[in-house]
Every structure is written in C-alpha cells, then in structure tokens.
Symmetry: C2
C-alpha cells in the first residue's frame, strides 16, 4: 500500500505483530502486565493523528473504537485507555490498553512504569488476541 513506510525499530522490538487491516497494523506490546495493543497506520511521515487524511483518521479511529469495545468486554476491563502520545516514538501509533483496578499501574498511566513482564506463552497470547480482534 505504502512502499516506503517502515515500522519504527523500537515499536517493532517492543511488540508482536497481530495483523494488518486496510493499512493499519495491529501489534501486541510485549508486556504481560496489561492487554496492550498498538495500532499503527502504514503512512510514511505521519506523527500526529491529524496528519492523516480524513478517511485514514476515521479508519484508525473506528478500528481503535472497535478494539476498545471488544477487548473491554472480553477481558472485563474496568476502563480502556485510548491514546496517541508519541513523545518517545514519533511514528504515529495509537495505544489501546485494557485497564483493571488491580493492574500494576492503576490508577496511573501505563507508560514508563516499571519493567515490562514477558508473556509466559507469547504465541498463545498472540493467537487469543487475533481471535478476539478477528485478525
């Protein structure tokens, strides 16, 4: 779709690929403390959400909302965090994080808090999330 788009190295290193839907890559953060998705539009140069064309803005938003709703219900999350920050990694990416009042960071944001915990069975976690998101 966009031949000159390349995934940011840090995003690639810190997350597993789940699937791609109409130019948006779904990834699972390598941190078993949270069900933490990152959605990345494969658009070269995009940093802020408003940098995208309106159709792509809306597409990324719709996918974020859909993921938020499905994950919240399946995991009985207490709250979803949906955010584009991008202070560390400028390549546009939207976090969709399931939060529980019992989780490691609650009620603080998840970013920059302690050390990530590796998934015990990454392939199982990946498959479960793919099934949930129909990827």
């Amino acid at each position: 779709m966009t031949p000159d788009w390349v995934l940011n190295e840090r995003l690639e290193q810190d997350s597993f690929w789940l699937g791609t839907r109409d130019g948006v890559q779904f990834r699972l953060m390598k941190d078993a403390r949270y069900a933490w998705l990152v959605l990345i539009p494969q658009v070269p140069g995009a940093e802020d959400w408003h940098d995208l064309t309106q159709p792509m803005q809306s597409h990324l938003f719709a996918l974020s909302m859909q993921a938020s709703k499905v994950v919240k219900q399946a995991l009985r999350a207490d709250k979803m965090n949906v955010a584009n920050l991008g202070n560390m990694v400028r390549q546009l990416h939207v976090h969709v994080v399931a939060r529980h009042v019992t989780d490691a960071a609650w009620p603080n944001p998840v970013w920059g808090l302690g050390e990530a915990t590796a998934h015990a069975e990454p392939e199982k976690s990946i498959q479960e999330m793919r099934d949930l998101l129909e990827l």
Copy 2:
C-alpha cells in the same frame, strides 16, 4: 441537550470552561505548564469513548482532531497528545495536550507529574484559547 448530565466535580475544579459545541464541552486545564484542553461530551453515564453512539463518537473525534491541528500550529508544538484515560475521573473526557520538547514533563506523559502552575492571567489565557478554537 442532556438535562441529567452533570460535570464531574474534579474536572470542574481543575479546569476553566471555554465553550460548548454541539454537546461537547471544551475546557482549559488550570495548569500553565501546558496548553492542555479537555473535551467532555455531555452524555450521562459515558465512560469509555466507545460507550457513545457512533455519531457522537465521531463528533468528539472530529473536534479533538480539529483542536489538535489548530493548537499545534498556533503554538508550534512538537507533538500533540490526544488521549482518553479516565482512570481517576471516570466521566468521559478526552485530553488534547500541546507538548514541547522543553516542557516540564517531556518526554513523559503530563498526568500526575508535579504540581500544576496557575495561569498568571487566566482570563487572557481563556480568551486566547477561545479565539483559537473559535468558541
């Protein structure tokens, strides 16, 4: 519009009213360290963005994008943070924060970091933001 919607007390206390557009309240956080907007849909009971009807989801998103774009340009921000967290205050609200690499929290998120700094001239700050956002 929604007679039984009441603004959360903490949001009310921590921010100034800027204006309301089609059921979404724009407020300016009482923290002069950042240009920090909060957009709050006047929908009773809404906590997650996906709780809203699709038209209201999209309306809130469009207003967030518009604010993000206008504020970034006017303040020459380095990055915009657009986020619904709601871990502390559950009433649905979207943060739109202009970030500069020189700001107090950079590159960390702004939430929960240090003490808010009062605006030297709140009415001036409010009016500038109203003009910018055409409220």
